[in-house]
Amino acid sequence: MAGPIINDTPTKTKERQITIDPITRLEGHGKIEIFLNDQGNVENAYLQVPELRGFERFCIGRHVMELPVLTNRLCGVCPAAHHIASTKTLDAVFSAKPTETAKKIRELFYMGQFTHSHIAHFYALAAPDFVLGPSAPANKRNVLGVVDAVGVPIGAEVIKHRSYGQKVQEITGGRATHPVFGLPGGVSKQISEEERAQMEEMAKSCIKFGEFTIKLFHDLVLGNKDYMGLVLNKDAYYLETYYMGMVDKNGKSNFYDGDIRVVDQDGKEVEKFRPEQYLDVIAEHVEPWTFMKMPYLKKVGWKGLETGRGNGIYRVGPLGRINVCNGYTTPLAQKEYEFFKKTIKDLGVTGPMHFTLAFHWARVIELQYAAERMLELVGDKTITSDDIRGPFGQPKEGVGICEAPRGTLIHHYASDKDGLCTKINMIVASTNNYAASNASVRQAAKALIKDWMVSPGLLNKVEMAFRCYDPCHSCGTHSLNGGPALEVTIRRKDGSVLKTERNF
């Protein structure tokens, strides 16, 4: 197999506005606008996001019990996360305490979600850059090119284990993609011993696959000095932000339940809050050029898209979680976490890991954790108990938070006495990351595009700066037309289109 193609040859552009337009959803998509100055360097760059409109309005007046299955329709990418956040919100709305069995089943389901989601991101979306190279020809830089490069047997393992994640969700959640099992105080479906045993075998296999993935990451990225040069390019992929993520009572990373911890640029804890306190910590900024809001830390304040100590921009997701936690509760994930900490310490990093592309490393550690935690939960035979539903009270207002694969996910509902929804607010993971991903795009564009010199590989490297966040900006559901992966529109100064180039 030929080595990855890290760099290509840039050519001069005469245009002052470059658009990277990743059309991936019929319902809407994000695009990057890059503006050049008179010297042909980047003046500014924006990640613009058109959003699906009217979702909150659609929910008002509905019974709150419907929301776990309605809010998960918001998105075809992470419906399981919305279902869990929504179910936890119903726990709060109905003052319901889920039974121990119900909590285990929910978390087991959720480990299935993380397994499938992180496998899909790493192998289908990130691996083309790592295996084939960011500057490889676009018609090869995709998941099929990865399969060609690594071989069909490995491709089959990817498909199999991602499918195991789906299967665990299907068994526990009723459906693989849009689950229906969450109820206030519990779940609707008990697990049989036969199902438990089936999932136990899948979990064991997923652990082995997690180990394989970590090794692959070591070989492909850590073992390649050109990649490490890219990863450690401080001009292009480095932001000193705050970080946010969920931790258990011992400060270990947890995806299902716990407090939300926020650390500063040195790793010092600056906030630790329960879900119902989120409005004391987070405020949202609005920019005129995008539909998506930009959350920030209220006490620090909003100072624009510049990052640093004086500005309340924070990051969530795998990088946020690994930077706020003290480690993982499972042995293999913990072992890799310790290796991660040692490696970055050797690079001179003593506090949080601010290098943006480290999202990918954190993600493969989380894949290992999800598989190990899955086995812990499913290996506990009490998970088949019929004690799956606790009592609940009268509806009122409540907040529920979980960690979506892409980061902290907040749902907040208010109900009238009949259970009808009177207010709904959601801050989704990619929204939490929106200001930071914008800053990352701007930073990468400024560092990589100089003196009018542009190439598909350079533009892909700009896109890599936000792809690693695993963004899910449009809550779309599917795409039959399969739009282009990357479309660059070069505009005249007056904004009219001079030419369009597609890299596929």
């Binding site: 979306l125 399969v147 963004p471």
Partner: protein, 160 residues
Amino acid sequence: MADALRSSVKRLVLGVGNPIGTDDGVGIHVARELKKLDLPGVEVEELPASGLELLDMVVGYDKVIIVDAIKTRGGNPGDFYTLTEDDFVRSVHGASPHGINIPTALAMGRRIVPEQMPRELIFVAVEVEDIENVSDKMTPKVAKAVPRIVEFVEERLKSS
């Protein structure tokens, strides 16, 4: 994915879309109507996602009909077309930030598990009007087309 239970059922209708995405839900609505008919030997499923999830669903079947929304320039809402994987050759790619699309997922299946992929796979693509707004109701022209689409799919299931 290698779900042994699936091997005994050879025909699948898969409605793809978002049931609260206005016309985007047409595939789901068609699937729900077909399910009511309880056609012998035919599985009917809904899929509100794309990409690898779709690959999971179609593996193990001989014949698959996917019903989904499509928007073409100048198209009339409610019209529908029959397409095959070959019609999407130019759409096969995967380096998007969000996920891989249906043609890419199918191409991946044909590469990795060719013996488990459907021998016949067709898309019934329904021309839609509104996929922007949130609603569980389709626009009138698309809603009116649903019985015709159901009838068409039923006929296609018979021919093999």
